[in-house]
């Protein structure tokens, strides 16, 4: 669903970005550490097949993100990222798309082992959430649905199984015991809240963390993430998510695996938390091989069970794709999704929907 967040958000987002640009120019003239700007862009085309109710082709200028990093000193910096999503338009007659602050935080570095972030950040969960929309950095166009997708949490209500954004504080650091490498992140902030798509609920507090261990050699990375808050399906219902992940690189081979288990407390007939939990279980496996450092065919198997107590309520997505690196900054991606979704109808009956989807995109980093 494409929506506009309002004029005030657009003005705020733009004002922050341009204020940083002006401040950066001042820093350069004063001889202090220079500010840096980066960004990324992507454009997608999507088509469904074997499905009657979908448009044949859809073009989508999905992301145009501007990042400005402003060092205040060697120990302090401000990081900002403004996202223009779905080719936003704002006029009296037409409004579409979204403009918002994806990241905006002040970071203090005590040492590499201890840094403190304060502000809004993408929650460190799993391999991809911190660079959720930076599509040039991953080989596929669509993030794995099982872990990063929006899932049916209640009737007519879909959302992610953890908070995509957090406004709060985060501790982050890298530690090197011998030849091992440990990276930790711990955060507390306004939780997601019970509203679909929410990320900044002052009545709620979310807690989360991530740990990545890299054994000697650096080819294998093992990660674990968690997130919990007290407003899952509704106010006062607990939810918690646990994620496990692994990445392995050997020459031109790349493999990765992620698993997510989400518990959401249910409501009784009077809409009060009843202490019972619905469990989502999702995982994916990905394998890729890169030829000539440019051409990367890959496959991915995505599985999500929306309720482990209800057999058969699962979705399976098989993906084959081809990522072509036109330059180190420009990527052309093609993938075909084969989807099988089983849904419960009234009583014990179920229906299975099978269809396919083509997704192509061009993504560039600058």
């Amino acid at each position: 669903m494409i929506s506009l967040n309002g004029t005030s958000r657009i003005v705020k987002g733009g004002a922050v970005f341009f204020a940083l640009l002006l401040a950066g120019e001042a820093a350069i003239s004063a001889g202090r550490p220079r500010f840096k700007t980066y960004g990324f862009f992507d454009m997608e085309v999507q088509a469904s097949f074997d499905r009657e109710d979908s448009d044949p082709w859809t073009f989508n200028q999905h992301h145009l993100n501007f990042i400005a990093i402003y060092p205040l000193s060697h120990n302090y910096r401000i990081f900002s990222e403004v996202e223009y999503e779905h080719g936003p338009t704002l006029s009296r007659n037409e409004s579409s798309g979204k403009i918002y602050l994806a990241k905006g935080f002040l970071e203090y570095k005590h040492s590499d082992a201890l840094r403190l972030r304060m502000g809004k950040f993408l929650s460190p969960f799993g391999i991809y959430n911190e660079r959720h929309d930076a599509t040039p950095t991953f080989i596929f166009t669509k993030l794995p649905y099982s872990v990063y997708g929006k899932h049916p949490l209640a009737s007519g209500y879909k959302d992610r199984l953890f908070s995509k954004f957090t406004t709060g504080v985060q501790l982050v650091g890298n530690i090197y015991p011998g030849s091992w490498e440990l990276r930790y992140q711990l955060y507390a902030g306004n939780g997601r809240g019970a509203a679909p798509g929410g990320s900044d609920d002052n009545s709620n507090k979310g807690l989360g963390g991530r740990l990545v261990i890299t054994p000697p050699g650096g080819r294998l990375r093992l990660g674990a993430s968690f997130y919990a808050d007290k407003h899952g399906l509704d106010y006062g219902t607990l939810q918690r998510s646990l994620g496990l992940d692994a990445e392995f690189d050997a020459g031109n081979y790349h493999m990765e695996f992620e698993l997510l288990r989400h518990h959401a407390e249910q409501l009784d007939s009077l809409n009060r938390p009843n202490g019972r939990y619905k469990v989502h279980l999702g995982y994916y496996l990905l394998g890729a091989y890169t030829f000539l450092e440019k051409i990367t065919p890959f496959f991915r198997y995505d599985y999500i069970d929306h309720d482990t107590d209800e057999p058969g309520a699962a979705e399976i997505i098989g993906i084959v794709g081809l990522n072509i690196s036109l330059t180190t900054r420009v990527y052309l991606k093609n993938e075909i999704h084969f989807i099988r979704a089983t849904k419960s109808l009234s009583g014990a009956s179920k229906t299975t929907d099978r269809y396919g989807m083509y997704v192509g995109s061009i993504a560039a980093a600058f």
């Binding site: 590499d112 911190e130 950095t137 890298n174 900054r329 980093a365």
Partner: protein, 167 residues
């Protein structure tokens, strides 16, 4: 007549040219890691150098912040030796570091050794790499795991020298 003269010239010059190329590659084969002359560190381990160029260590052991410099003509061999990554993979890796919001800043890229040397000589927090033959008193050369670039045990060699060594 012209052809014979040419052949004779090639025959005469070839050994000298080969010798020049081989001896040149022996000198050029060492990549020196350099810092500002006022930087108190004299040595860096290969593991720490890898962490530095991957943006995982953003301060020297003395606590000084690090500003990374890259000598583009030597970058491919240097990153292969130090980070075990091709230049393309190294660039992609840094794209991920930036977009994730990690603290590190990518290397400042220099197309000419003289520009990098001038930058490191001026910027007190800089670390860079140069052809050992290009090093002069404006920068300080670090030993790697206690080994100087003058030593045959020095770890930052390129393939050309390995071929020379085999001969």
């Amino acid at each position: 007549m012209i052809l014979q003269t040419a052949k004779k010239t090639v025959r005469t010059l070839l050994p000298g040219v080969l010798l020049l190329v081989l001896s040149g590659s022996m000198v050029l084969a060492k990549t020196a890691v350099v810092v500002h002359c006022d930087n108190p560190i004299d040595d860096i381990s290969l593991g720490e150098l890898k962490r530095v160029y991957l943006g995982k260590s953003t301060s020297f052991v003395t606590g000084r912040p690090i500003v990374l410099a890259e000598n583009n003509p030597l970058a491919a061999v240097f990153y292969e030796n130090v980070a075990e990554m091709s230049l393309k993979r190294f660039r992609k890796y840094w794209m991920k570091v930036v977009f994730e919001g990690q603290y590190a800043t990518p290397p400042v890229v220099f197309e000419h050794s003289s520009d990098l040397k001038e930058f490191v000589g001026r910027q007190e927090f800089a670390i860079g790499f140069l052809d050992f033959a290009d090093v002069d008193s404006t920068v300080k050369v670090l030993t790697i795991d206690g080994i100087s670039p003058e030593s045959p045990e020095y770890p930052l060699k390129d393939e050309a020298e390995e071929e020379v060594d085999k001969e």
